[in-house]
Amino acid sequence: MSLAHRIIPCLDTDGERVVKGVNFVNLRDAGDPAALAARYNIEGADELVVLDIAASRDHRPTFLATIRRVAAELAIPLTAGGGVATIDEGRAILRAGADKLTVNTAAIRNPELLTVLAAEFGSQAVVLAIDAKRVGDRWEAFVRGGSVATGIDAVAWARQGADRGAGEILITSMDKDGTRSGFDCALTAAISRAVTVPVIASGGADKPETFLEVFREGRADAALAASIFHDSIQGLGELKRFLGEQGVSVRQTG
């Protein structure tokens, strides 16, 4: 008996529709979030993440409506985020039906935000998302959808974020994102060793073996992927059966 490793499909949206791109650019339409959510709920996803990658203020009501539509389809946990910078924005996302919210750019700008969100909603509801890119011999955190370098060490930032109240770290490798060349196990392991909260690995998912690697070598507690699931390149049930056969604790469904 042990905590299962989670498989988490991610819906990157423009607020309303699922979009996808490589290395955060060349976005194209990939479907209706609620329809995909309904499918993943049945197929055995352990959790779902829905992000507003446009994260513009004007679109916020649209995104909240999307969260409501997605939540209505789910009997599993939902994490949502994109541009959250205040307690009120966080509350709106949770009230719309999310169980947890992600914060990224605003937390780097104002780390105290993590503390106040955790005090208001509990650490279990606050996920610190970090977009990291290899720069020299370390990983640097980037913000605003990966477009702006911060000069901040991603591993040190993860540790500080967890100390300030984040209950989970969602680490996305910008070098791997969209490449289908496997997760960045070195980055994930470095983050995992630095914190005592659960770590979700993101970026680079491909064949089932890549998930096995990130759970073993990357010491990830959960792995997130988007296009391989959206495009039915990888079935959730088949992936979990493979991991189970390899001795990884996973929640088998159906």
Binding site: L3, A75, R95, D99, F121, Q124, T196, V197, D221
Partner: protein, 208 residues
């Protein structure tokens, strides 16, 4: 049957409502002592902070009405923080009294494993219980917490092991509770809610 969700600002109340809706079970929200008095069964949802929950119940003058309803035999299901609120106190908020349906104190889990305990885990059953009827022994349930009741005396039905052994399901008479979130636990979670509704409504199941 009149099932009410105790409304005091808990974030997961709509999720519980939706989960009941999927079972075809209508529910209402009760935020006053009067509303609690009209119910055949109560559900106390909860996420977040023990102190915040107890203060919210206190501000709405719901603590004594809840205790009275339970004493009168109204079935009560506590979920996650709703389970913890049934205890006398919690390390999370040393100054705040709980509902004291159980005399023990809720503890902070030791940092042996990664915390919060976040994700899907299995149960270790120590005796048969009503909530787990028809649930496969190896089923996974969704947990998200850092505090837990390590002991509930004879009421403990199933435990979970993460950092420590803690109460995952408890039952005593008309009192039921789960540390995990049945509303987020897929089909097996739905089975738990269905079992509560069935037993709360008597042997004939859901009835008016």
């Amino acid at each position: 049957m009149n099932i009410a969700l105790v409304e005091y600002g808990a974030g997961n109340l709509p999720s519980v409502e939706r989960a009941l809706g999927r079972l075809g079970v209508a529910s209402q929200r009760a935020s006053t002592a009067e509303a609690l008095g009209f119910c055949d069964a109560l559900i106390l949802p909860g996420v977040g902070h023990f102190g915040a929950l107890m203060r919210s119940l206190g501000e709405r003058a719901l603590v004594e009405p809840l205790r009275k309803a339970v004493a009168n035999g109204v079935p009560l299901l506590g979920i996650c923080l709703g389970l913890q609120a049934m205890f006398a106190a919690s390390d999370e908020a040393p100054g705040d009294a709980g509902l004291s349906l159980f005399p023990q104190t809720v503890s902070e889990l030791p940092p042996t494993d990664r915390l919060p305990h976040m994700g899907w885990n299995q149960l270790r059953r120590v005796r048969p219980g009503k909530l787990l009827e028809g649930v496969p022994p190896d089923a996974y349930f969704y947990f998200a917490h850092s505090y837990a009741a390590l002991d509930a005396g004879e009421a403990g039905v199933a435990f979970c092991d993460h950092s420590a052994s803690f109460v995952a399901v408890l039952e005593r008479g008309n009192i039921f509770a789960t540390q995990f979130h049945p509303e987020k636990s897929g089909p097996v979670g739905a089975q738990i809610l269905s079992n509560f509704v069935k037993h709360a409504g008597g042997a004939n199941g859901v009835k008016r």
